[in-house]
């Protein structure tokens, strides 16, 4: 039953994502290669569909515990080099790779991991 539900959810998600009218979810943005492209560097061990993730960044897991203050997580995504100049992570907000609204959605999505 659970499997079937997840298949249906996946199908629905695909349909929704392909519909021009559907609003993009935080997950869509995170998975989209020309937007967040988080999987290029980060694994998401709790998500079975986060396939073949890259290895360069730390896995995205237990995000609430790791970032009790959501603002800190958002700031990392907006410009990781502000808190760590050596960070390899693209400054998603500072360089307008994502809009402010998209970053908010991604933060919410990550907070569920």
């Amino acid at each position: 039953m659970r499997k079937r539900t997840s298949i249906i959810t996946a199908v629905l998600a695909t349909l929704l994502a392909s519909s021009a009218y559907a609003a993009e979810t935080g997950k869509d943005i995170a998975f989209n290669r020309s937007k967040g492209n988080c999987l290029a560097c980060h694994g998401m061990p709790t998500l079975p569909d986060a396939e073949q993730p890259g290895e360069s960044g730390p896995p995205l897991i237990a995000m609430q515990a790791r970032f009790p203050d959501k603002k800190v997580l958002r700031a990392k995504i907006w410009d990781a080099t502000a808190s760590n100049p050596e960070s390899f992570m693209p400054p998603m907000g500072k360089h307008q790779i994502l809009t402010e609204e998209e970053i908010d959605k991604v933060v919410e999505f990550l907070y569920g991991l």
């Binding site: 290029a40 073949q52 993730p53 890259g54 290895e55 360069s56 080099t81 390899f88 693209p90 790779i97």
Partner: protein
């Protein structure tokens, strides 16, 4: 006493001067030992395989493809271009040092008289111009690509041997180094972000190759028969990371190739190769 103080001061200046000087050889040695620490099992000579050196499965596929490479007929076209006499009646072999054999590892070189970096493609085009022909476009896969692909096979087994001598050469090298290490573009990556700091790691399913060894095997035939020159690859790489790319043959790319090739000094050349 005074003498000793002066002598010590002199020594201090000398030591200071030495430690402040970061020459190309020092840059290269640092990278070699950085990678040696990072990948203690990888032999220096294996860096010519780039990302394949980290992936035994991909390497064994590569080995079987290279037994009978799908691009041999392309190389034959290049051989024909190489052997066709130019308008003056002379050939490329007449025009280049050592008949064009075992010289590719010396390029790019810095030409003091012209005050700029000369790539192997430039040297071939110079041959064309002095012998009454028009220059080929730098990275055109149908002309310069094929010609240089064949010509480089004549240097298979030669070790990369780039020299940086004199002020002008050093300036060009430093400019290439700056291009390599400077973070830029929307994603804020430098070449080094991927090919030094993250070399050997996967970006999604793709392994990032280390900078050392990267210049030893161009042009590559990607997917079997699609010829891509080194500088054409620079264009693609820069586009991928959302940099503003140049056209192959720009001064910036020539200087980058100069620095980039120096980092492969001592490694064996092999042209051409298959890459996926």
């Amino acid at each position: 006493m005074k003498k000793i103080v002066i002598a010590l001061a002199g020594l201090g200046i000398l030591v200071g001067a030495f430690s402040a000087y970061a020459g190309p050889e020092e840059d290269r040695q640092k990278l070699v030992s950085y990678f040696k620490n990072k990948f203690p099992d990888l032999k220096f000579d294996d860096y010519i395989y780039s990302a394949l050196a980290f992936d035994p499965d991909a390497k064994s596929q590569y080995n079987s493809i290279m037994e009978f490479p799908p691009y041999l007929s392309e190389l034959e076209k290049g051989e024909k271009l190489w052997n066709t006499p130019l308008k003056s009646g002379k050939t490329y072999a007449d025009c280049l040092p050592n008949g064009g054999k075992m010289i590719a590892g010396n390029y790019p070189l810095f030409d003091d008289a012209r005050g700029k970096v000369i790539t192997l493609e430039d040297a071939l085009n110079d041959c064309r111009k002095v012998n009454g022909e028009e220059a080929y476009k730098n990275a055109d896969p149908k002309t310069m690509g094929l010609l240089s692909a064949y010509m480089r096979t004549l240097s298979d087994g030669m070790k990369v041997n780039i020299k940086v001598v004199g002020e002008g050469a050093l300036k060009a090298y430093e400019d290439g180094k700056k291009t390599f290490y400077r973070r830029a573009g929307q994603l804020n990556f430098s070449c080094g972000s991927c090919h030094v700091d993250n070399a050997g790691l996967r970006i999604r399913s793709e392994l990032l190759s280390p900078v050392i060894g990267q210049t030893t095997h161009w042009p590559a035939f990607r997917g079997g028969d699609k010829l891509v020159t080194l500088q054409k690859r620079y264009e693609g790489c820069q586009k991928n990371v959302r940099h503003v790319s140049d056209k192959a043959g720009s001064t910036r790319y020539n200087n980058l190739e100069y620095f980039h090739s120096y980092m492969s000094n001592g490694l064996e050349m092999k042209s051409s190769v298959f890459r996926k």
